[in-house]
């Protein structure tokens, strides 16, 4: 769901009867490096396309744009709710608010954002790789294959390649 890493991504493939050290056919993740992937950025209002989870805080409503960030909505006039801005955060799916801070995920990191001025979207702190299972594209596109388990430190998975004679395909989906 939402590209999150679910049951299949744990390193359980080795326990399956069909496991082999060199798998005749298996999926291998293709990583890319995006220097901005693990940064957040305040942007002007953006269109809501892939609407996601919501969190209400006083007269503000935050809505996740799936895997892209968070919309900041002022609904003090309920007949005319307005987008105030957008916090760009790649891989974002989750959110919560405590005090004056919005806590979200940015890829696999936990990020706390100061809401003193919500549209500034200022990062207060970050915990690297707090959620290793929140990787995007964490499983291959088709089930029924062994695959090389993703590693959060290696970057963003942009796609999967089906390759022959693959070593270390320890995951199964």
């Amino acid at each position: 769901m939402l590209g999150l890493c679910l049951a299949s991504c744990i390193d359980l493939g080795r326990r399956r009867p069909g496991f082999r050290e060199i798998q005749p056919e298996a999926y291998v993740p293709v990583y890319s490096q995006d220097p901005e992937a693990n940064t957040i950025k305040a942007l002007p209002p953006q269109p809501i396309v892939e609407s996601g989870k919501i969190y209400v805080w006083g007269n503000y409503l935050f809505q996740v744009e799936r895997l892209a960030g968070v919309h900041i909505i002022d609904y003090s006039d309920k007949s005319n709710p307005k987008k105030l801005g957008f916090i760009k955060s790649r891989g974002c799916t989750e959110l919560a608010v405590k005090g004056n801070y919005l806590i979200i995920n940015n890829m696999t990191d936990l990020v706390s954002i100061d809401l003193a001025n919500p549209v500034q979207g200022k990062e207060a702190s970050r915990i690297k790789d707090a959620f290793p299972h929140f990787m995007v594209n964490s499983v291959p596109p088709y089930p029924g294959y062994y695959y090389v388990c993703p590693e959060p430190g290696k970057g963003i998975i942009t796609s999967w390649k089906l390759e022959k004679n693959v070593k270390g395909a320890n995951c199964f989906h």
């Binding site: 890493c5 989870k53 969190y55 805080w57 006083g58 919560a96 405590k98 290793p132």
Partner: protein
């Protein structure tokens, strides 16, 4: 591949009663210290702690200073956990094989107290002292295996051993929420169904709102905030069985 999505919703009468007693405003608290999330959440705040679920673990963060969350480790939770809901000193988790109840009497050491495995459930969990509402959805994205589209009503007076008391057929249930005697079940493209909970163990369907694709709701004071396709919309639920559309934001 046909899969089922399931939704567990355990009602929190106490917290809801507190919300409904907030007469200072018809739009919810004005200066909350924390807000409110929907029933699909993987993040849940209880006191000074943030609990998160991903796949098979509960992660614990100390957010006494929310500007600087501190990683406090993790505990093994179950299997394919999708949602988390805190109630009093408990966490209710929705997972692919059932619902898990964890005690957070010691907030740094969530401890499994009970579970139910006779239904497949992988979405929202929200709870109450006496009754819980669980939806199971078959097919569609985010589903978790299974064959039914139903709303189940559980007696949860003994939280560690919920007792099924009623099953109601649904079309494609997602998230849900309650306010006083109103139960709101999102059904994706099939709209949102409004139930009367005058008898909490016998929900009575009052109407179906079909003009949007509904995924989740947050009851917030007399407001019902709905997460819909491409946006959000706001209803006045002063009369819980007749939501009045106040406005919407799409695109």
């Amino acid at each position: 591949m046909k899969r089922i999505q399931s939704i567990i919703y355990l009602l929190l009468l106490l917290s809801l009663t507190q919300l409904s007693c907030d007469k200072s405003s018809d739009s919810g608290p004005k200066s909350p210290t924390s807000g409110a999330g929907g029933s699909l959440a993987r993040f849940a705040i209880s006191g000074n702690y943030l609990y998160t679920v991903d796949f098979s673990t509960i992660r614990i963060f100390d957010i006494t200073d929310p500007a600087n969350p501190l990683d406090k480790g993790m505990v093994n939770a179950g299997w394919d956990i999708e949602t988390i809901f805190p109630y009093k000193d408990k966490l209710f988790l929705g997972g692919a094989t059932g619902m898990y109840v964890f005690s957070i009497a010691d907030p740094l050491k969530p401890t499994r107290e009970g579970m139910v495995t006779h239904f497949r459930a992988c979405d929202p969990v929200v709870a109450n002292d006496t009754v819980s509402y669980v939806t199971l959805r078959s097919g569609g994205p985010g589903s978790c295996g299974g064959t039914n589209n139903v709303l189940n009503v559980y007696d949860v007076k003994i939280a560690s051993s919920p007792n099924l008391v009623r099953t109601i057929s649904m079309k494609s249930p997602y998230g849900l929420g309650i306010k006083n005697k109103g139960l709101y079940v999102c059904e994706g493209a099939n709209g949102m169904v409004v139930f009367d909970l005058s008898d909490p163990y016998t929900p009575v369907q009052k109407q179906v709102i079909t003009n949007e694709t509904f995924y989740d709701v947050i009851p917030y004071g007399n407001l019902l905030i709905a997460y819909i396709e491409k946006g959000v919309c706001f209803y006045d639920i002063s009369n819980p069985f007749s939501p009045v559309l106040l406005g919407k934001l799409k695109g």
